[in-house]
């Protein structure tokens, strides 16, 4: 996802002279192409994220389209007040891009885990929250974000994730979920970098004779309400899957929508991380296994819920 972001950003920078890149002293060499072509529009803001976010807001107030980028907790929690006050209160077009969301940087420990950011950011007025499911969705999300006149948060994984889409998404729309596989029994709503695990879960369900629809629900705010209405009316079980705390994330957002919506209430399962720090050492795959977030674990739990 990270390399797709840097590549798409360079393209956008070539097309639009308002595009400015701000980085919090990460991405060594990642932005070399952007820097080569647009040296006056790249700023390494150092390990000073509060200032970076304020600078981005000041630029956006004056007609530019800044992108502020660093590791997830530092571009969100670290400067949450600047996001709220400078960016969202002024309602200016800053695109905040986070790398290593969820447990992508599991091995680096809880300082680098990001399982609360969706919760924080979606509660701020004027903020759009997008969690792309693969590199093509990252490209679509970034391009769509830069066309907005408002703040957008894009929550990426890291590098090397499996690609799900077969090619560029030409009709990526903020707030419109993408059906990846059609099904008839259960509906799996995936957000962010969990998409490959969810596809794996669907394949395991198919082996058991359960037809699963897989949806990449890339936008957590605003929710695709039409898709939710369909899901809760057509399927006997709906599940949300995310690499984020069960408190305040995508599943919470859908729960809130359900509570406020008159709809036939089907079985609803939420997959996410618990209300606890994951303190043990281990890479993302290990963390997912421990937390019950692998494809086969998701499938098993769904089978159990249906029985």
């Amino acid at each position: 996802m990270r390399n797709a972001f840097a590549d798409e950003l360079t393209k956008l920078g070539n097309e639009d002279s308002r595009v400015v890149m701000l980085s919090g002293d990460i991405g060594n060499r990642l932005f070399d192409k952007f820097k080569d072509k647009h040296p006056s529009r790249f700023f390494n803001c150092g390990v000073a994220e509060a200032n970076m976010m304020g600078v981005a807001a000041g630029m956006a107030m004056n007609g530019l389209r800044p992108v502020a980028y660093t590791i997830t907790p530092f571009v969100t929690t670290r400067c949450l007040e600047q996001i709220r006050t400078d960016v969202c209160y002024h309602e200016v077009p800053v695109t905040i891009v986070a790398v290593g969301a969820g447990l992508a940087y599991s091995g680096l420990g809880p300082t680098h885990h990001a399982c609360e950011d969706i919760s924080f950011l979606r509660s701020i007025p004027n903020m759009v929250v997008i969690c792309p499911g693969d590199a093509f969705e990252v490209r679509g999300a970034l391009r769509a974000a830069m066309q907005q006149d408002r703040p957008v948060y894009i929550r990426m994984g890291k590098k090397g994730e499996p690609v799900v889409h077969k090619g560029p998404i030409t009709d990526f729309k903020i707030g419109k979920a993408i059906t990846i596989e059609e099904g008839s029994d259960v509906c799996l709503l995936s957000t962010g970098n969990m998409l490959p695990e969810v596809i794996e879960a669907a394949h395991r369900l198919k082996e058991k004779g359960i037809s699963a629809e897989v949806v990449s629900f890339h936008t957590v705010k605003p929710l695709d309400e039409d898709k939710l209405k369909q899901a809760f009316s057509r399927f006997k079980l709906v599940a949300t899957i995310e690499e984020h705390s069960l408190i305040g994330g995508f599943g919470s957002a859908v729960s809130e929508w359900l509570a406020d919506t008159e709809t036939k209430h089907q079985k609803f399962l939420r997959f996410g991380t618990p209300d606890a720090f994951f303190k043990k050492s281990g890479e993302q795959e290990y963390a997912r296994e421990v937390l019950g977030l692998t494809g086969h674990q998701i499938a098993d739990k769904i089978i159990h819920a249906l029985s």
């Binding site: 006056s40 529009r41 509060a50 200032n51 600078v55 000041g58 630029m59 002024h90």
Partner: protein, 282 residues
Amino acid sequence: MNVAVRSTAAKPDAAALKAQAAKLRGKIIEMSHKAQAAHLASSLSCADAMTAAYWHVLNIDPKNPTDPLRDRFILSKGHAAAALFATLAMKGYFPIEELDTYCQDGGRLAEHPPANLLPGVEAATGSLGHGLPLGCGMALAGRIKGESFRVFALLSDGENNEGSVWEAAMFAAAQKLENVCVVVDYNKWQATARSNETLMLAPLRDKWAAFGWDAHEIDGHDVGALAEAMQNIPNGSGKPVALIAHTVKGKGVSFMEDDNNWHYRAPTADEVTKAFKELGLS
């Protein structure tokens, strides 16, 4: 490159500016009394810097408040909103009668400057430590777009407690933002205690200089000197400029000066009368 026409070539008329500052103080005191609003003393301590900026230095047109080439002034110490509102109204950004709605239900003049609501307010402030990073972004946007406007940020001394101020100070120096000027309203008080007994700011000029700024100490109530220093931005040093303005909290009214109770107190009608007499206002 678009070059903004400076309106500040002339030497400041110190006497006229001093009289204007007294009028501004009178308006601020009236507003505080009518609304029974806090932060009067903080608003009075920066009244001379506001006067120098708006009545001599800034290249602005109240009839065209979003002119891309205008100088930007950010009241980073947003709790002194009364000083900003009174200034903007007196300059003609909105009707002077609207000052009567200060802190009233449904009005545009809240206790801190709002976002996207009131002409002339460049940025919503109130949470401290935001003005300078925003200003740096504005200055860089100007540089990228080839617009040579200047950015002024007025900070309180207590605001220098915030880490984001120093993040921005390092950033501005690294980027050589010579069009950026900080004025620190150094009145030696913050909300509840002496500033240097809260977090040690002294030596404040040396700190800003050590962060790569062209830093100067100045009498923050010498409105003519403030106007001269601010009109010379950029000053040829190639660095952003910090003016450490030594001020007195509650300046202009003897019974408010350097008495931190006036951080939160609002004056009675009798106190307004006394204050007006001292300011030479009828």
